[in-house]
């Protein structure tokens, strides 16, 4: 049991034994059946203090939450997506589907704190000084979902990624001896099959399902974007060609974008152009 006395004692002794230098001041509480560990995380590197953050860790129940949820509660970090933090202070340590790399039933809390929590806050302090993410970052929301699976599968086409993930959800059948969806001209069983089976073992279906929705949304957004770009080019070309009296008004990208909205084409959200480090 998550909230059993034994479990609480185990967590306390884990923190005392392994985190005495970086998490010396903490408090354990039970709130709505959740076990919370709140305290000051000291970013100690080579015996020098880089920074301090007040954090709250909600332990997973392994039924609805599969890894600890971490909040920054000292109000040091602006609660905006560009800082990889939600408005309620919940941090986005990694792409959720990748959680098993960092946490499973056997992972000690101290390992999770020394691992992704520690590096996340190190990255925040570095960003505060330089404006750069020292370990890199994933894009937000739908683009991040696409980016994660695109890199994991080594496939760029969002449609192919969707088919692969739907195969895992048993919503799309791919025969083992047919050509792989990725276009490699290899048989599926000799190409992406094993990778997909590994993902199936690692990621709960509910998470894959969520990612598919995001990737579909991303693909649709890209379609709108490409259509929009083409319509924009056509519109500008038309204005130039006809020596239209509105040429002066629309002859720059901003005005042309306004024109594009005017003629009713959806433009993709700004998020798709987010700079990557």
């Amino acid at each position: 049991m998550l909230n059993s006395n034994d479990n609480i004692k185990r967590i306390e002794s884990d923190i005392k034994d392994n985190l005495v230098n970086i998490f010396p001041n903490y408090k354990l509480t039970l709130r709505n059946k959740s076990l919370l560990i709140s305290g000051v995380l000291i970013l100690l590197v080579d015996n020098k203090i880089i920074d301090r953050y007040l954090i709250e860790i909600e332990m997973p129940d392994m039924e609805t939450r599969f890894y600890p949820v971490v909040k920054e509660i000292g109000n040091k970090i602006p609660k905006i997506a560009d800082r990889h933090i939600n408005s309620n202070g919940t941090t986005c340590l990694f792409y959720p589907d990748n959680y098993k790399k960092y946490y499973n039933r056997k992972t000690k809390l101290s390992e999770f704190i020394k691992g992704p929590i520690f590096t996340y806050f190190i990255a925040q302090s570095y960003f505060e000084i330089t404006g750069v993410w020292v370990f890199g970052e994933l894009n937000h929301n739908e683009f991040g979902a696409y980016e994660f699976y695109s890199q994991k599968l080594g496939v760029k086409d969002p449609q192919a990624i969707t088919i692969f993930l739907n195969f895992l959800l048993e919503k799309h059948n791919i025969k083992k001896n047919s050509f792989c969806v990725c276009g490699s001209l290899k048989k599926f069983k000799n190409c992406h099959y094993r990778k997909l089976i590994k993902i199936k073992r690692e990621v709960p279906s509910v998470m894959i399902e969520n990612s598919v929705k995001k990737i579909v949304k991303f693909a649709n957004g890209m379609k709108d974007y490409i259509n929009g770009q083409n319509k924009l080019k056509e519109a500008i070309a038309q204005i130039k060609k006809n020596n239209d009296p509105f040429k002066k008004i629309f002859y720059n990208e901003n005005s042309a974008t306004k024109l594009l909205h005017f003629i009713g084409t959806k433009f993709p959200p700004k998020i798709y152009f987010k700079r990557k480090n």
């Binding site: 010396p24 001041n25 903490y26 408090k27 709140s38 305290g39 000051v40 995380l41 590197v45 080579d46 015996n47 020098k48 203090i49 880089i50 920074d51 301090r52 953050y53 007040l54 509660i73 000292g74 109000n75 040091k76 997506a81 560009d82 990889h84 933090i85 939600n86 202070g89 941090t91 986005c92 340590l93 990694f94 792409y95 959720p96 990748n98 790399k101 960092y102 691992g115 992704p116 590096t119 996340y120 190190i122 990255a123 302090s125 570095y126 000084i129 330089t130 993410w133 020292v134 370990f135 890199g136 970052e137 994933l138 937000h140 929301n141 991040g144 994660f148």
Partner: protein, 300 residues
């Protein structure tokens, strides 16, 4: 308790920023430069440039110090513009040739133009309503009310005369050591509000009382700006800030119960562990180069 109070006094002195400290000398010379830039730009203007903030209130601590330079145009002076927003923007433009200027709500943070190193200086442009009584108006960028009435003398006297500056300094050290962000102005007002009738008690007794109040009563404590009762501080002293303070106050009280004051304020002189941004940056880069594959943050 005398040993605890001795320890706290040593902590105070190790975090104290003396007038001749290297950090202060640096910001002071920068202040002279700022004053010259503004006066060169507006040579005929009637402007008062003076220190404000924790430097003037004598509540500066080493861990987190800022120097506020108040730059108030006199009531009939419009060389930098008619409106408060004009003054704010014109001062910003005027400093931008020499500094990287980061706009804050009412102040302009000055950083090195090339490497963005922080000079720990905030320039606060404004205009006197009445120079004789010190009342002034500030522009508030992005706030519901764009104009804020203030009075630096009232603020300075309120804190200086409270006889609680030592406790305020210790609470600033405590705040920094717990990684929380609460406006220093609010922490100062909160301290005076809670401890105004307990000035003669020792440091340790007062700290304990303060933290007990934070743990048990913080939701019922309202702070008021002594220079402007209409200044609504609820957005900077909100529930989330209160929750954080309550938590760290509780942790501090647990440490006191175990007679472990060092767990609250650290060892004497341990602030030498703190580094400047350039050193921190290098240290993180070296850590990153040996960290291997690390989780990349994402956002919903």
């Amino acid at each position: 308790m005398s040993t605890t109070n001795d320890y706290l006094k040593k902590i105070l002195s190790s975090h104290n920023l003396k007038n001749d400290a290297e950090e202060i000398e640096k910001v002071r010379s920068e202040r002279d430069k700022v004053e010259k830039i503004i006066k060169d730009k507006y040579p005929e203007a009637k402007i008062t440039i003076r220190y404000g903030g924790s430097y003037a209130k004598d509540t500066m601590v080493k861990d987190n110090y800022d120097l506020d330079i108040l730059c108030y145009f006199h009531e009939d002076e419009n060389s930098a513009g008619d409106s408060l927003e004009d003054i704010y923007n014109n001062i910003k433009t005027c400093l931008s040739d020499d500094y990287f200027v980061q706009p804050k709500r009412s102040a302009l943070r000055l950083k090195d133009k090339e490497n963005k190193n922080d000079f720990h200086i905030d320039v606060v442009p404004g205009r006197f309503v009445e120079k004789d009584n010190g009342d002034a108006y500030l522009f508030q960028e992005g706030a519901e009310k764009s104009r804020l009435k203030t009075n630096p003398d009232t603020h300075i006297n309120y804190i200086k005369n409270s006889k609680l500056t030592d406790i305020i300094k210790l609470l600033k050290v405590w705040k920094n050591k717990n990684g929380i962000e609460i406006k220093t102005f609010v922490l100062e007002l909160l301290t005076v509000k809670v401890l105004k009738d307990r000035k003669d008690n020792g440091l340790s007794e007062n700290l304990k009382y303060f933290w007990e109040e934070m743990k048990n009563n913080i939701d019922n404590i309202a702070v008021e700006d002594p220079a402007n009762s209409n200044n609504d501080l609820s957005d900077i002293f909100n529930d989330s800030v209160k929750q954080s303070i309550r938590l760290i106050a509780e942790i501090a009280l647990n440490n006191i119960e175990n007679d472990d004051w060092e767990n609250i304020f650290g060892q004497i002189e341990d602030d030498s562990d703190e580094e400047n941004n350039e050193e921190k940056k290098k240290r993180i880069e070296s850590f990153a180069s040996s960290a291997g594959v690390v989780a990349r943050p994402y956002a919903e």
